[in-house]
């Protein structure tokens, strides 16, 4: 009986919050009461959710990745410059983007794991540098459009799909990304060891875990997630120089709302996913009720604190 209660308590409260928010959204707007409407919500939430999952790897292993927003900008700029609107170059641009992402992740990882620079500072540095590189490369204003087949992932919606009507491509990308990351976190030794590493890196090291390599990999995963989010965002909204601005804090916020504990050792992909969804649903709801924009920022702040206070209460029951 106590076990039953315990597992009930273990249900992530974020899911409940999300369900409540979603109910409110559906109540406010008829659009979201249809499957197509919900899917379009998912489409727009996809970048934040993917970022939140990627960020959670870093957070769970005890670090932070502040460079993800800049990396999104760099990816969009890179895609625009490489393709120059030419659909033939799309695959090259995609490959290059993931290459750039991997490189940024490795740099972050090496600075943190080998250089032992605290990740807040290390990724603050890469945030500046990556953004600077994006600006230098584009001269401050990227030339060129994103070709339609590149924007396909973030923008295209299949119409006349049985049962749901419209089905955004981004949702498929989202599901695949979540599946991969959830498997990495919960279905592999790698993911299980990350929790131990985040909790006590020294103990993990003395138990033979490749602490530095795994920590480095978390930054690579986060960076690759940022690239994916960048491709979706660029696809959804086109080229601009500040696409990624602020996404790093959104990703961290989403993860925290989902119960991932800063400084490591605790968290799950389920939480990260619902944290991202909750954050986006909140934005949508505030949009719908016509809450004045600046106050939405304030509400986001309050929600964030409340979520963290709640998970602190739960966490204290060690």
């Amino acid at each position: 009986m106590t076990r039953g209660l315990a597992s009930l308590r273990r249900i992530n409260p974020t899911i409940l919050v999300f369900v409540v928010l979603l109910a409110a959204i559906c109540w406010m707007s008829p659009l979201y009461r249809t499957p197509a409407g919900l899917l379009s919500l998912l489409q727009r939430a996809a970048p934040v959710v993917i970022l939140s999952c990627g960020q959670s790897f870093v957070l769970i292993a005890g670090g932070f990745d502040l460079a993800s927003g800049s990396l999104i900008t760099l990816v969009v700029v890179a895609c625009a410059l490489i393709t120059g609107g030419d659909a033939g170059w799309t695959w090259v641009a995609l490959l290059a983007s993931y290459g750039i992402g991997a490189a940024v992740g490795v740099v972050n990882g090496v600075i943190v794991a080998r250089g032992k620079v605290p990740s807040i500072i290390a990724t603050l540095g890469t945030l500046l540098s990556v953004k600077g590189i994006a600006m230098m490369w584009s001269g401050g204003a990227p030339g060129g459009y994103l070709p339609a087949n590149l924007r396909f992932f973030g923008r295209y919606v299949w119409r006349h799909v049985p049962l749901v009507g419209r089905f955004p491509v981004a949702v498929v990308v989202l599901i695949i990304s979540i599946a991969i990351m959830a498997w990495l976190m919960h279905g592999t030794n790698f993911g299980r060891l990350l929790l131990m590493i985040g909790d006590n890196p020294r103990a993990a090291e003395l138990a033979g875990a490749p602490v530095r390599r795994f920590r480095m990999l978390t930054f690579v995963i986060s960076a690759l997630a940022s690239v994916t989010a960048g491709i979706l965002l660029g696809g959804f909204s086109g080229v601009s120089v500040d696409v990624g601005t602020g996404y790093e804090l959104q990703a961290i916020s989403a993860a925290v709302i989902g119960g991932v504990v800063l400084l490591g050792g605790q968290g799950s992909m389920l939480g990260a996913v619902f944290g991202g969804l909750t954050l986006y649903a909140l934005f949508t709801l505030l949009n719908l009720v016509g809450f004045p924009e600046p106050m939405r920022v304030a509400v986001q702040g309050i929600i964030l604190i409340a979520a963290a206070a709640l998970s602190a209460r739960r966490g204290r029951r060690i």
Partner: protein, 324 residues
């Protein structure tokens, strides 16, 4: 029970800050001479360089205190804006209202610091999230109400930023006072010793009979007050507060970066204001040197990132422990 570890020399604490300052100063001087801008080494050139430190320096001192106690404050940037806006609103060009404006700004600082502190110490909210959240709330409230809060500081208040005493800008004196005060408290008083204790290990400090929450809250209040002072200084320097002055200035992440560059541990319990001020000096010289060398601003941004990482890595790379 024998054994003796190497005692810490009294000056060892200052070795890192001193090295940073000397390096930065040499680079500055070399650039000035190398680009034939020797005037930048004149008294007013150097004072101009030092004045670049004031706004960031004051708030970084407060950030040092919260980092030492094992917390962090991301709300300072928005609080700087709030303080600057409130001060110029209350003063509204009126010399008689200066005292009131200063008081209002400091009072808001105390209030915000107390909220941060209570969230962190009592509600156990992760300090990053707590102060990020409070910062967002401040930003939202400020932007919403900015139009009703317009105002400007009177000319007499601008003396704070532009006035001089015996050739030394008042603003630099203000920075010196803040640094000296914090340095004295940390290095000489029981409160300072306990602050290090709380930052080093809360449980240890508590078991040693220290009221730990009071120190955490106190450090947050101190940090917020320095942010408020920084806001006042900026209001004086700029003539009026704007709701973006803090955020655009990047005082949140910059203040953390300079503290860490100055050798204070992010996890708390070790460091001090001497290092912080050295870090601020490094940042000020970066700006000045990039200007002198006419570095492309985007390249400057890249280099700034590299310098931040490189400066911290130069002394963390030899440590054996894992960091996160």
């Amino acid at each position: 029970m024998s054994g003796a570890a190497i005692p810490r020399g009294g000056l060892a604490k200052f070795r890192l800050p001193l090295a940073l300052v000397i390096c930065a100063a040499v680079v500055y001087a070399a650039t000035a001479l190398g680009t034939a801008q020797g005037e930048q080494l004149s008294w007013s050139g150097v004072m101009g360089l030092l004045q670049r430190m004031v706004a960031l320096g004051i708030v970084a001192v407060g950030q040092t205190l919260v980092l030492l106690v094992g917390s962090i404050d991301l709300s300072v940037a928005n609080l700087i804006s709030v303080s600057a806006v409130i001060a110029s609103h209350v003063m509204n060009g009126n010399t008689d209202a200066i005292a009131l404006g200063v008081l209002a700004a400091i009072a808001i600082g105390i209030l915000v610091g107390a909220v941060n502190g209570v969230l962190v110490a009592k509600l156990k909210v992760s300090p990053l999230i707590a102060t990020l959240g409070v910062g967002l709330v401040l930003q939202g409230v400020l932007t919403t109400s900015y139009e009703t809060l317009a105002g400007s500081v009177p000319a007499s208040f601008r003396v704070l930023a532009y006035g001089r005493v015996a050739g030394l800008p008042l603003a630099i004196l203000l920075l010196i006072v803040v640094v000296a005060l914090a340095g004295f408290v940390l290095a000489r008083t029981a409160a300072g010793y306990r602050l290090y204790g709380v930052g080093g290990n809360v449980q240890t400090a508590r078991l040693a009979g220290i009221r730990t929450d009071r120190f955490i809250i106190g450090a947050h209040i101190a940090a917020s007050v320095t942010a408020a002072i920084s806001g006042l200084y900026l209001a004086s320097w700029l003539g009026a507060g704007t709701p973006w002055v803090g955020r655009d200035g990047g005082y949140d992440l910059d203040s953390i970066a300079v503290v860490v560059i100055g050798g204070t541990l992010l996890s708390g319990g070790r460091g001090g204001v001497a290092g912080t001020i050295a870090g601020v000096f490094v940042f000020a010289t970066i700006d000045a040197v990039f200007n002198m060398l006419q570095i492309d601003p985007f390249l400057g941004q890249v280099l700034r990132g590299v310098i931040v990482v490189g400066a911290v890595a130069s002394y963390t790379i030899r440590t054996k422990a894992h960091v996160a």
